[in-house]
Assembly symmetry: none
Homo-oligomer: 210 residues x 2
DNA sequence: CCTGACATCACCAAATATGGTTAGCGCTAG
DNA sequence: CTAGCGCTAACCATATTTGGTGATGTCAGG
């Protein structure tokens, strides 16, 4: 029995999916939600093996939601659903930890098939999606270095990631506290963020630091 | 009419594929080869739209061959075939420019389907292969649980990495500021750190969050 | 020579984060 | 049944971070 949770802001679709899936052999729908707010609680309530996630939702989109699910319940299988199949979102979804990606024009039978396939360890995708994923390998994705951080700035970012305070960094580098402050202001500006959390998150993802 | 060239060192398989494909509607087999030596000449002789390439061939393996095909006739669609589905070769094949990847236990009908799909711009893969490809994006062999963070704690850590302040997290989760404060205190304690920088650094390295 | 990027330093003010401590409620494993 | 854990919440105090603004010297490139 596969426990399935559904996230979709469209009521009609939500109901259709519930009708379709909950009757199907081997499938039990344990949660139907219209948004991903308080997703921790929703997961705890439904304890799904698999999540059908609409990618276009208000407030918290499906990609964000997928990331959080991946963090909270790493073993849940996630299948993204969307009307659009633009490359950007596919990658973001897959990086967020989705195993499958379906466009919403998929036939009902295909959805059930996809769920079975995903639970069996496969990665259901429509053919066009698959091609886009493949193309990702041939194109070079050297994310880093388009932020033009100076050596000093990278050095300070690195020290921040090690938990040093401005004061400690100043001491370590034999410069004034206010200089550290200045550098960090510049770093934030270049990375277009305004908090340490965002800065480090970006820095790790873009491999500016490791 | 799709012109197909077959590369396989096993005579039985070579013949089976020829039999299977050459009769099929829309498909014309214009070349059957047992190795990839002098591949330039072989391509010139067969002028394929699509190549079915065995990955395990003597002298010049299928991956090398694919690279050369990509150089000589960039527009040819390449489908790799193999008995093994080890991750390393899948990636090498895809980087070499293959559009599809089938294991040899695929049903005859699936092969024809795959050819049609590939010519239509898709990327046929067996479900297991697809999953391995997807895993490349997430590849998380995380020592996830050694810190015993609760669901809520992981959720909050994730939000911190997105740059949210305590206050914003409180709003997002519909809980009090002081509760967030408490959770973060607990997180720091469990991770044995005492700053956001260290916490995030550890969380990223240990793949607690992504 | 002038401009821009870099590294350095400073003052001010407000917002946030961190640590210590305490406590209620619900659940579950022993 | 009780001890422990997770989630919630609060108070206080201090340390730290963030943003605005401005300044100096150096060095490379147009």
């Amino acid at each position: 029995m596969t426990r399935v949770a559904i996230f979709d802001d469209n009521e009609r679709i939500r109901n259709s999916l519930y009708m379709l899936l909950d009757g199907s052999p081997g499938i039990e729908v344990t949660g139907v939600f219209e948004d991903a707010e308080q997703i921790g609680l929703k997961l705890q309530k439904s304890l799904p093996d698999l999540v059908l996630m609409d990618i276009d939702m208000p407030v918290i989109n499906g990609i964000e939601a997928a990331k959080q699910i991946r963090t909270i319940l790493p073993k849940v299988v996630i299948i993204m659903q969307t009307i659009f199949d633009d490359e950007e979102r596919i990658f973001q979804s897959l990086k967020a930890g989705a195993q499958g990606y379906l466009t919403k024009d998929a036939a009902p039978l295909k959805i059930i098939e996809a769920i079975e396939e995903a639970m069996a360890g496969g990665s259901p995708m429509t053919p066009g999606i698959a091609r886009k994923v493949i193309n990702y390998f041939t194109s070079n994705h050297s994310d880093h270095d388009e932020f033009n951080l100076s050596l000093r700035e990278k050095e300070i970012l690195q020290l921040l990631s090690e938990g040093l305070s401005y004061k400690m960094i100043a001491a370590r580098l034999y410069i004034a506290y206010e200089t550290v402050h200045s550098h960090i202001r510049k770093i934030y500006q270049k990375l277009q963020v305004n908090s340490l959390g965002e800065a480090l998150s970006l820095a790790f993802r873009k491999k500016i630091i490791s």
